[in-house]
């Protein structure tokens, strides 16, 4: 079934579709097979972008297309408003690609989404794809292969690298989720792992973490207690210096917290095999999946 996106033709809109990124990726999502039904850019009503109609507001888009999911490419200062507009219009799955959204806005947005029953993915991530169903985001189409591994990751290109390796090894994926590299994210690593556990098609889970925060430690705890499927871990930043942001807002070792050592230890204690290079991941999967 795959997770979160578990149907073939979920109607999707793109907020910020007339921008450079928005229109390019709307096109790419269509090529993946996503049912992109329209886009939103205020003031651009009546035009077309990526071959779909553009609306002034999400409400209009929903009324005209029946959209149930949205991908957001709106610049950071305006992205929170775009998310609230999507939530208010009844969109239940919102993938935020935008980077540099202040975490204060994200804290409030996430609470609002919770209140209204919408799921956020991102921000500052590559989005997600359920192979064979739909892609909501910017991951390259070429890396996927339908299969049995669920992947959740805090990274972008590193995810592509790893997914590509998993595809080339023949396993293939059910769903791949890039949760985003920020401190506060809509869907957490542990949420994705728990969904994979419940998904009948997913036979193994790959979790790609990095330094900073305690998401991997918390996920390890949950895996230890309530996940029966085999899990392979990967942690980026083993050699990152403390006190420096390694590109992602969330990737920082503060004091002695958030180190790769701490995360690898937690994973190992939960019985999770941790790969030290991307290419090791399919090798471990071979041992775990019988």
């Amino acid at each position: 079934m795959a997770i979160i996106i578990d149907e073939k033709n979920i109607p999707v809109i793109v907020q910020g579709i007339t921008g450079h990124q928005g229109s390019f990726h709307a096109q790419q999502m269509k090529l993946f097979g996503t049912n992109i039904v329209g886009g939103v850019t205020p003031g651009k009503k009546g035009t077309q972008s990526a071959g779909v109609p553009v609306f002034d507001s999400v409400k209009e888009a929903v009324e005209n297309t029946g959209a149930r999911a949205s991908v957001i490419f709106v610049p950071a200062p305006y992205a929170p408003d775009a998310v609230i507009e999507a939530i208010d219009s009844g969109i239940k799955l919102i993938v935020i690609i935008t980077e540099h959204i202040p975490f204060h806005d994200m804290v409030k947005m996430k609470l609002y989404a919770q209140l209204k029953g919408s799921r956020l993915i991102g921000p500052n991530g590559p989005g997600m794809a359920s192979v064979g169903l739909a892609k909501l985001g910017i991951m390259p189409n070429s890396i996927f292969r339908q299969g049995s591994v669920g992947v959740v990751s805090r990274s972008g290109t590193l995810t592509y690298e790893i997914v590509n390796t998993i595809s080339e090894s023949g396993f293939g994926e059910t769903t791949v989720i890039g949760i985003g590299g920020d401190q506060v994210v809509g869907t957490k690593m542990q949420d994705a792992v728990q969904l994979f556990e419940k998904d009948s098609e997913t036979k193994a889970i790959v979790m790609v973490g990095e330094i900073g925060g305690t998401a991997e430690e918390e996920t390890a705890e949950i895996i230890k207690n309530s996940v029966s499927k085999p899990v392979v871990g990967f942690i980026a930043g083993r050699y990152a210096p403390p006190g420096k942001r390694m590109g992602h807002a969330g990737a920082i070792i503060t004091g002695n917290k958030g180190t790769a050592e701490s995360k690898i230890r937690a994973l190992n204690e939960a019985g999770i095999r941790v790969a030290s290079t991307p290419t090791e991941i399919p090798e471990i999967l071979k041992q775990l999946i019988r």
């Binding site: 990124q21 200062p77 408003d81 992602h248």
Partner: protein, 381 residues
């Protein structure tokens, strides 16, 4: 409420950095929010020092803790003593920071010192209030049972019952702490801070007084705070240069230059090189780009730190491999680097990219493991 007033954006360089305000900047904000502070004066040069004869304190203004222990906080009784103290403080190295500005304030006598802060709890994804009667020390060294914690849901701010509990925890009878807590959360919220800390918060005969301030703002939110300038505390010149260009660059101690697209891929590349015995010279996220000029810019920066090998690791997606290859070829022609370049290209337009490089005599590989081996081998030669 989510503040979304539309503002004219000034070009703030967003590279996910933190802006640590200096003590006096924080105290100016405290004053605005009516958090009581001791009367103080900002000293930028000798001429700013007034004549005085009472007991004062001169304090180094550097964004690091433990100033007192290192001689950065000096009691003085006259202008003359202040001048001598400033000269001494200027010579102290505070973890790479030097004090250029000073704060002169009245000496205080407190009965006891408390700790109070509001910060983001990444795990709960909510702000948290921390308070302790054990002020004046690093909160990380205070045992958990001596810290009062409350997670704030922004929609209801700090409830009255929390202020009551917190006041009782700190052994304060007066309601002044209620106002201080409200002010601290308001600063956190309205200044988009990731940390607002008063340590120590002194209990004096005249009530509560903030003896120090620590406010950290994330640069992602600086577009809402035109009054705060981005700053480059504790950075090496090459890092400052990168930041000014909006590039995400961290200097490491090794000799192998690295350019990769994406933060995670960068970190993984650094890890793999290190695991095989190589010593990376930097972290450098090229990000998503479709402009060869950005690649040239990147190579120019690398040429300042790389001695033997530069490794360019690209997994094409938004960034296409042929674009990167074109940039590399142009940069090599322009810069004529005296170090070796190993390029690994995968993903979008990898074949075109490799073809462009091959035509120009630049080594490229598809397989990441092989590329890493090659890089480490070259660096060891």
């Amino acid at each position: 409420m989510i503040a979304l007033t539309v503002i004219l954006l000034k070009p703030v360089l967003q590279i996910n950095d933190m802006v640590d305000l200096l003590e006096y900047e924080g105290k100016q904000i405290f004053q605005k929010y009516q958090v009581p502070v001791t009367e103080f004066k900002v000293i930028r040069s000798e001429s700013d020092i007034p004549d005085f004869s009472e007991r004062m304190v001169i304090k180094a203004q550097v964004p690091v803790g433990g100033r007192g222990k290192r001689g950065g906080v000096v009691p003085v009784n006259s202008k003359q003593e202040a001048l001598i103290a400033m000269d001494k403080i200027r010579k102290i190295d505070f973890d790479g920071h030097r004090s250029e500005v000073f704060l002169l304030e009245k000496a205080y006598s407190e009965r006891r010192e408390l700790y109070l802060s509001v910060t983001l709890d990444r795990s709960k994804e909510l702000p948290v209030i921390l308070a302790s009667a054990e002020g004046g020390m690093d909160i990380n060294s205070v045992p958990a049972e001596k810290i009062y914690r409350h997670h704030i849901v922004p929609y209801v701010s700090v409830p009255e019952y929390v202020k009551r509990e917190l006041g009782e925890f700190l052994g304060l009878k007066d309601r002044q702490i209620y106002e201080v807590v409200d002010a601290l959360y308001s600063i956190y919220d309205q200044m988009d801070a990731s940390l607002v800390e008063i340590n120590p918060l002194a209990v004096t005969d005249g009530g509560l007084t903030a003896l120090d301030s620590k406010i950290t703002v994330e640069d992602d939110a600086l577009f809402r705070h035109q009054e705060i300038e981005p700053r480059y505390f504790g950075l090496e010149p090459v890092e400052i240069e990168a930041r000014k260009k909006g590039l995400s660059f961290v200097r490491l101690e090794g000799d192998i230059g690295i350019i990769a697209n994406g933060a995670g891929l960068n970190m993984a590349t650094i890890d793999m090189i290190s695991l095989r015995g190589g010593r990376p010279a930097n972290f450098f996220d090229l990000g998503g780009t479709d402009d060869p000029a950005k690649v040239i810019e990147a190579l120019k920066l690398e040429s300042k730190i790389v001695s033997k090998v530069l490794f360019i690791n690209i997994f094409g997606g938004v960034t296409r491999c042929d674009t990167v290859a074109t940039g590399i070829v142009q940069a090599v022609k322009e810069l004529k680097p005296d170090f070796k370049i190993v390029v690994r290209l995968r993903g979008a337009n990898e074949e075109q990219g490799r073809h462009i490089l091959q035509e120009n005599g630049i080594e490229s590989l598809l397989n990441l493991d092989q590329a890493i081996d090659r890089v480490v081998k070259l660096a060891g030669e």
